[in-house]
Assembly symmetry: C2
Homo-oligomer: 464 residues x 2
């Protein structure tokens, strides 16, 4: 009995050294990991009480009202809205059918900024390509007047890097097809699932490219169209396509801003956040009620623990999905006077954080080490740097502000991304808590760090 007690007494200090339980950042991290309920409450609230909230619509305005009310109730300071105007494109009807040789309906969804077909649809022959490069290489005469179909073979990756490569049919395809005189374009959805839900997303017609109808077939429908083309052989495959989206002119969008005031105004501000708008098809649970909830819940934990040295600003951006009006607005309104010293966005779903990356100046190496050590018990490894923050905060990084990226597991992200399937049931409460714990640890260290925080000039990477 005595011996056991002695062993225990001897063991304690070394245990404490291995697991720095005395570190307030570690304590806050562990409390979040064990018991955070705020993030779930927020993600459920936003997706249920507002639901889909496309930028520039009445629904996005209701999301701002919801956010202002909730942030105020939670005790945040300086809760306000930064408004801006933006052009709004609205989805209409969307239908497709094979007319011959194998008549049947296909399911698709219009891409952002798609032109409309005539109300009764347009009918044309389908010409299939396996890649954007194959379309690029095709003679214009072969494409003219036809409905271009681009297939691809996107597969899931943990870091989501396939989105850059496989996103080309959506981003470059419509402009290329238009320049070649195509009547319309349908691409295989940029996604990794096998459900009859199309993946929408923004695309912009390049200079001189007349807008044409542009849509994404669900992945089962893209594979069906590929089989139809194969089995038809030399017989032309004809499709009728009906899309009736409209450009409704300029409308108001906005960012919702809230702060945890710091004790030292000279120490600079930390900006974190997610985006409040979503695509219209789902309720925007993973994209991006989750980011809104994770960063708000983490900032709230710091606030509850006592006033930090640095002010933490939570920004819930408007209009990220349709091209990102909110990020530039916040940068314009707040820079250079905003004196931000660190930025970070959560915008890649709600699955667990698996990697941390920094873009800290050399003098902040110890600070990065300290954060990485705090994240390791959450199963988070250290990446190769540099961080680039999310789409909404990238301008700050380009201006030299420090950033931390907490990379989330993206293996199933593109199963649901920009589809009707982006709903609350796709979020795992335990993984959501791990996100809150990770951001809480990062904020706890950075908001209270005695040293100056400085970034480095970033290496450009494609925005997500």
């Amino acid at each position: 009995m005595k011996k056991l007690l002695l062993v225990a007494a001897l063991a304690l200090p070394s245990l404490a050294a291995a697991q720095p339980a005395a570190d307030p950042a570690a304590t806050l991290r562990d409390q979040a990991m064990r018991g955070d309920t705020l993030a779930w409450e927020l993600v459920e609230g936003l997706t249920t009480e507002v639901g889909p909230r496309q930028a520039g619509t009445e629904a996005e305005r209701r999301a701002r009202d919801w956010a202002v009310r909730r942030l105020t109730e939670l005790g945040f300071a300086n809760v306000h809205v930064e408004t801006f105007e933006m052009p709004v494109w609205m989805r209409g009807e969307e239908r497709a059918e094979i007319i011959s040789p194998f008549p049947q309906p296909l399911i698709l969804t219009a891409l952002g900024n798609s032109a409309a077909t005539p109300a009764g649809g347009l009918e044309a022959e389908v010409i299939g390509f396996q890649s954007v490069d194959e379309l690029r290489a095709a003679p214009d005469a072969l494409v003219r007047g036809k409905i271009v179909f681009i297939n691809h073979a996107m597969r899931p990756t943990q870091d989501g890097s396939g989105y850059g490569q496989f996103g080309a049919p959506r981003r470059a395809g419509p402009t290329l097809a238009s320049r070649k005189g195509a009547a319309a374009i349908v691409v295989r959805s940029i996604g990794t699932d096998y459900h009859r839900n199309g993946h929408t997303g923004v695309q912009a017609f390049g200079e001189g490219a007349r807008p044409i109808p542009a849509a994404a077939l669900t992945i089962p429908d893209a594979e069906q169209l590929q089989r139809i083309l194969s089995r038809a052989g030399d017989v032309p495959v004809r499709m009728r396509l009906t899309l009736t989206p409209r450009n409704i002119g300029r409308r108001q969008s906005g960012n919702v801003v809230a702060e945890v005031p710091g004790t030292d105004p000279s120490a600079g501000v930390i900006i974190i956040g997610g985006h409040l708008d979503s695509w219209d098809l789902g309720t925007g649970a993973i994209d991006n009620a989750a980011g809104v909830a994770i960063t708000t819940a983490a900032a709230h934990r710091i606030m509850q623990a006592g006033r930090p040295r640095r002010t933490i600003r939570v920004v819930l951006f408007g209009a990220e999905e349709v091209g990102g009006g909110g990020g530039p607005t916040h940068f314009r309104v707040n820079s250079p006077a905003g004196n931000a010293v660190m930025v970070g966005e959560s915008d890649f779903g709600a699955d667990r954080v698996w990697r941390v990356e920094f873009n800290f100046a050399q003098g902040n190496a110890a600070l990065a080490d300290r954060i990485a050590a705090l994240l390791a018990p959450l199963g988070i490894t250290r990446g190769g740097d540099p961080a680039n923050a999310g789409a909404d905060l990238n301008e700050w990084v380009r201006a030299g502000t420090a950033a931390v990226d907490l990379n989330q597991d993206g293996t199933r992200y593109f199963d649901y991304h920009h589809t009707p399937d982006d709903t609350l049931d796709k979020i795992d409460p335990a993984q959501l808590r791990q996100n809150v714990a990770a951001w809480t640890a990062v904020l706890s260290v950075l908001a209270n760090a005695p040293e100056r925080i400085e970034g480095i000039a970033p290496t450009p990477r494609p925005a997500r």
Copy 2:
């Protein structure tokens, strides 16, 4: 060296006894398991070249034409169509939205025989119930003029037995809601997935129940509506529902019949098959191009192996989904003169067979044992009997004909059942081959068995 050869020589006969490779049924079984490609070719052909094929429509007629052509090309004898007439209900538009307090669209799909709303939709308060029993217990005054919502908690089971219990909201809910004066009913889809695809299915308004609009919310939408009701508290939740289905009158449907002629007309006929029609939402890959393909491919293997003693008749039934016109038609046309001695249907997807059940007379116990022994190497266990065949052949069983059920793994069947997601990509080629191997073994034994084959009076079970 000599010793080794001696051991090998001694071992061979006992190996042969353990694995009866000399049994032609086992050889055919193993050839199917290793190399069947016909079933995949048929399931791909039907789902691609015809696609959705609702009973009584032009698409179902094209499916019959396709089947007649393919069965003839494959060398079957006596290929013909048995036609019959049936009333046809056609889906129209289907939309729902919450008007207040949390405005947003919901995704649903009309149930078979649903009434239409006015063209502009109907608007009413939603009243939620957790079960049909809870609705039954509610005072009529509480339900009158409202949109009834019935939730439930169906979970996947290997044998699919949840469909009987959890199907009640779809089968009994609309009639019950109508009798209580409800304006409409929306039920949680009878399914086990989390995708924004509604599960349709047939229901019939009982005597004296005025048809009302009836639809199935997708499972994420049903959970969303439940959360909306919870968060609304005492505030009424109002929904606008638009369904525009039509009854288009009587149309022609039909069964496609093909035979492998036997050598002994007095030995009776074996009837197997699946159903050719599908719901309109998907391409009917698992329900039931798979059953069509599996039974056709198995019968084709027997035909290729030489003329069997008994005639094998493959029947591809029409109109199974909407109430089963094809099964009764075939029974009426062929009974009692048809002298069927055994019936079996494949209509539970394309996943592996895990269990066999019989309803053989006592005198055929050895025959059942022989079949079970041939199926064991495919991982198929023996169930508790009696078999009841599928919905289309159940009348034969009730009349005393022997039946074999090859139960398929239904764990993921209700993820896709009656949804747009019932597409070719849901079929695993290896599991499809195991189905062909199992049916080939069953047919090989029964088509050539020297003994008489007789059934027993069955125990009634709910039809699937």
